[in-house]
């Protein structure tokens, strides 16, 4: 092994491609490593930092986005595989009927530190898209992949249920 202070010559393997990402209806074309996880493309390349890094191995749900309407852990898919697909992140939710879910989060005062909440909200949207009237059991099971260390779980459940219990809100979705 070389000594720590030895100067190191770079011998780079260039692995770049133009990737087109369609995020919240906007098309972005950027040079990037096609293997970069969508999470890091969103955050470090496109500057969409609402999607959070939590674990990198699809264990915590902080990075959840919607791809073609389905909740996906953006840390665990490559940006190449998301090319051309309809990607929705927390930044785009206000412009959709699911803003009522954000409102429910405010009404029930769900967040504390807030870091996991982008992922919680995106995951909840994914659930409601596939199952507009989930039972408590179905909500708990669908949300079990999203970790919160502040312990906001009781309020997440309440916020999702408040949408279901309120026909005027759920009709908007």
């Amino acid at each position: 092994m070389s000594q720590p202070d030895a100067s190191i010559l770079k011998e780079k393997i260039l692995n770049m491609a133009t990737i087109r990402l369609l995020v919240n209806g906007t098309s972005y074309e950027k040079e990037m490593d096609p293997g970069i996880p969508l999470l890091w493309a969103l955050r470090d390349i496109l500057g969409l930092t609402g999607t959070k890094f939590g674990c990198g191995i699809a264990q915590c749900g902080a990075c959840t986005v919607l791809i073609e309407g389905k909740a996906v852990r953006s840390c665990s898919i490559t940006s190449e595989s998301a090319t051309g697909k309809d990607i929705q992140t927390i930044e785009g939710v206000e412009a959709t009927p699911y803003r009522s879910l954000q409102q429910a989060w405010i009404e029930e005062q769900v967040p504390q530190c807030g870091y996991c909440q982008s992922g919680q909200i995106m995951n909840a949207i994914g659930l409601l898209k596939s199952n507009p009237q989930p039972t408590d059991e179905e909500i708990l099971s669908a949300m079990a992949g999203n970790i919160c260390r502040c312990g906001t779980y009781p309020r997440i459940l309440k916020a999702i249920k408040s949408i279901l219990d309120n026909p005027s809100k759920s009709n908007n979705i």
Binding site: S2, P4, R43, Q109, C113, Y115, T152, Y153
Partner: protein
């Protein structure tokens, strides 16, 4: 405590408006600093760092021409709610319109009072914020009186307006702010300004909605990890796997082949004090976090792992036990006298083990640093910028006035961000990279493996019984790398003592939500339950019999333990949980109460547990809290819910494992925490009380939770738990 010297400064904003500076943050920089324009997209944000006419922290309160009120937070937001609670205290006395209140995060702080921990933010700044609000209101009223050429006594303030009594004439705060004149005797006015009676409160005591939640739900609440600056690089550090080991050599050739990786540099570790140390490492500088992470995995390094690689947990615990048995130790508390064993009919003694614990904040540790030789700048989520600055000054030789620290809200603190090592580490990375502006981010694996763990503790309680009554209670604690023992021994047994021994563990330790009250709340309240059963007493009735009304107990702490309040919390939770109700077979109730003296708050919990089909299930937690005067009941409930869920994670899954000094846990698959489908029903009650001020909230819920659950497991199964987590204690046959 805050120095009140030079604490007030009032200036007029360039564009009109009042800036009330509470310069109690004594050594603050006072020059105007502006953030680069595109740090974080601030458009549409409810809150932020600054707007037009940006000022640093000394500009504490701004009233802008449009009437909007901006309060600079004097404590760090990390989810505990200071941006709402502290703000509402000021708004109350200011007679501000709550809808017009906004939060400014501390932008650049090197101060004497910023440290945020111990559940003390509200109680420390309560008086100051009230006076600040009332003082600003007085100035606004005087400005209006001058406008109208009337006496100020003829005017009053309400909801962002000053009115004339008996008339519809009014002026909005925004119209008045630029016309404020600061009196010569402003300091005296500040100190003697009349404050509102509690009965007149309009905002305090109401469940006002959080000021930060609207930003959070749209993904725009600013965390340090989201920072984007021009020319910013990204860094990941390969650290020595063993605490205080040394780097011998490294090979970066593979790392440098990864696209996006730009530099690989050596980090020389720094010892800060006996318990904290920045590890030797190799930093990979790249053009994205991902490339830096990939580069780090490709670096090959050789380490001298050092002595901590030889620590075996079983031997360490055996050593701790031996020290418990020995006479060594520092006496922390002595009430009454030492009772001879010959005076006792019976001695009851048990030992309890509380393990190392991981934080696993959702926002992994990170900090962005720019080392410029004689000066430096940092962007970081922290609980104490002062500690960061002190360490930079000490170890990098940069004078404090040349250190700028931009403080962000944190994605969870829980004591982890009270430590400053990760922040100093990022500055070392910037320096090693030749002064690059570098965002250093821990991967989740780094965040778990190099966590500043809650210290391991063994607690032994011994009670001497004479004629069926407890006459002595001795508590001894052995703790890894941490000097404190609380010795909060509130049960009224005539002779009490607490003794403490510090031992060297295998790694770095730090503050962990509720700190030592976790281990000591667990051991004290499990033990008193065991004694109650030995003496054939009901656990609740036995506790109450040892908590005489009116008692104030001195633990050599800033506050005396108020037994009335402790008792009140216990009685309330017992009533709400219907203590003693009939439970089905293999179901049980358990109770516990604990004071949290750092914040002078008191909590109690009744847990309901079932042990059916070889599965322990916590079905319900009923909790109570006495936190003095309540600022925001819903936020108190939030903090209690959070503290309880925090403790339940530790009860079920906590602890850590290490082999040859290396932490074995790495991410959420092997460091499990509670998930939404595992939580019990939680029912929180806030005690009515006539305290004249607010006390601590954030760390009250956890400590009584451990013992309540374990005592409920005993009630359901007959099995005592003296060691956490229960996943390691209870075998399948329960």
């Amino acid at each position: 405590m805050n120095s009140r010297r030079d604490f007030l400064k009032t200036t007029t904003l360039a564009g009109g408006g009042l800036v009330l500076g509470l310069n109690f943050l004594q050594s603050c920089v006072s020059e105007v600093v502006s953030m680069p324009a595109h740090v974080i997209p601030l458009v549409g944000l409810q809150n932020g760092f600054e707007a037009e006419g940006a000022f640093p922290i000394t500009d504490f309160l701004q009233i802008r021409p449009d009437g909007s009120v901006f309060l600079s937070l004097t404590k760090y937001e990390m989810g505990q709610g200071v941006s709402t609670g502290l703000t509402s205290i000021l708004a109350e006395e200011l007679e501000a319109d709550w809808e017009k209140i906004n939060v400014r995060y501390i932008k650049s702080s090197v101060s004497k009072s910023d440290a945020t921990g111990g559940s003390t933010s509200t109680l420390q700044h309560w008086d100051l914020l009230r006076k600040a609000g009332a003082y600003a209101k007085q100035l606004l009223i005087e400005a209006a009186a001058r406008e109208w050429s009337v006496f100020k006594d003829e005017c009053y303030a309400e909801k962002n307006y000053v009115y004339q009594h008996g008339s519809d004439v009014r002026l909005e705060y925004g119209q008045l702010a630029g016309k404020v004149v600061v009196p010569v005797n402003y300091r005296e006015l500040f100190e003697t300004v009349p404050l509102k009676y509690r009965s007149k409160f309009k905002l305090i005591g109401r469940s006002l909605k959080s000021k930060i939640v609207p930003d959070i739900v749209v993904g725009r609440h600013p965390y340090a990890i989201d920072l984007r600056l021009p020319d910013m690089k990204y860094a990941a550090v390969l650290r020595c796997p063993v605490f205080k080991g040394r780097l011998l050599s490294f090979d970066a050739s593979e790392a440098l082949k990864i696209s996006g990786v730009e530099k690989v540099v050596k980090i020389d570790g720094v010892t800060l004090d006996p318990v904290s140390h920045i590890r030797d490492g190799v930093a990979v500088i790249a053009n994205s976090t991902w490339a830096a992470f990939q580069g780090k995995l490709a670096v090959r390094a050789e380490w001298d792992l050092g002595d901590n690689a030889k620590v075996e947990h079983e031997e360490f615990v055996a050593d701790c036990l031996q020290r418990l048995d020995s006479d060594e130790g520092r006496e922390i508390l002595r009430i009454g006298r030492k009772v001879k064993e010959s005076e006792m009919d019976e001695v009851i003694s048990y030992t309890y083990e509380f393990p190392y614990q991981h934080h696993a904040c959702m926002e992994p540790l990170n900090a962005t640093s720019h080392f410029k030789g004689e000066s430096c700048e940092m962007w970081v989520g922290t609980q104490s910028a002062d500690k960061i600055a002190a360490n930079i000054e000490k170890h990098l030789g940069i004078r404090k006035e040349n250190i700028k620290i931009n403080c962000y809200p944190s994605g969870g603190g829980f004591g982890l961000r009270y430590s400053s090592e990760y922040a100093l580490e990022s500055m070392l990375v910037s320096k090693a990279a030749g002064g690059d502006l570098v965002k250093m981010c821990y991967s989740r694996e780094d965040d778990i493996k190099f966590d500043y763990l809650n210290p391991f503790e063994l607690n032994r309680h011994t009670m001497g019984i004479q004629n069926g009554k407890a006459v002595s209670w001795d508590f001894k604690n052995v703790m890894a790398n941490w000097g404190g023992n609380l010795g909060w021994m509130y049960y009224n047994i005539p002779n009490r003592s607490a003794t403490q021994v510090t031992v060297d563990g295998f790694t770095h330790v730090g503050a962990w939500r509720s700190v030592m009250a976790n281990a000591e709340g667990f051991s004290t309240e499990c033990f008193i339950d065991e004694v109650a059963h030995k003496l054939n007493r009901d656990p609740l009735e036995f506790r109450l019999s040892l908590l005489p009304r009116g008692n104030m107990v001195d633990f050599n702490h800033s506050y005396q333990c108020n037994i009335n309040r402790l008792r009140g919390a216990l009685e309330l939770v017992a009533r709400k949980a219907k203590w003693g109700k009939q439970m089905p077979e293999r179901h049980g109730q358990g109770v516990a109460v604990y004071p949290y003296m750092h914040g002078n708050g008191y909590g109690a919990v009744v847990a309901e547990v079932s042990a059916v089909n070889n599965e322990i299930k916590v079905n319900k937690i009923t909790a109570s809290i006495d936190c003095g005067l309540v600022i925001n009941p819903d936020q108190v409930r939030q903090q209690m819910e959070g503290g309880i869920i925090w403790a339940l994670s530790a009860i079920l899954y906590g602890g850590t494992e290490y082999v040859n000094g290396v932490v074995q846990r790495s991410n959420f698959h092997d460091n499990p925490v509670l998930r939404i489908n595992e939580i019990p029903e939680i029912d929180v009650h806030v005690c009515e009380n006539d305290e004249s001020q607010p006390w601590g909230v954030g760390e009250i819920g956890g400590p009584p939770c451990y013992a309540a659950v374990c005592n409920a497991i005993f009630a359901a199964t007959g099995r005592r738990i003296r060691k956490l987590p229960i996943s390691k204690t209870l075998s399948a046959n329960i």
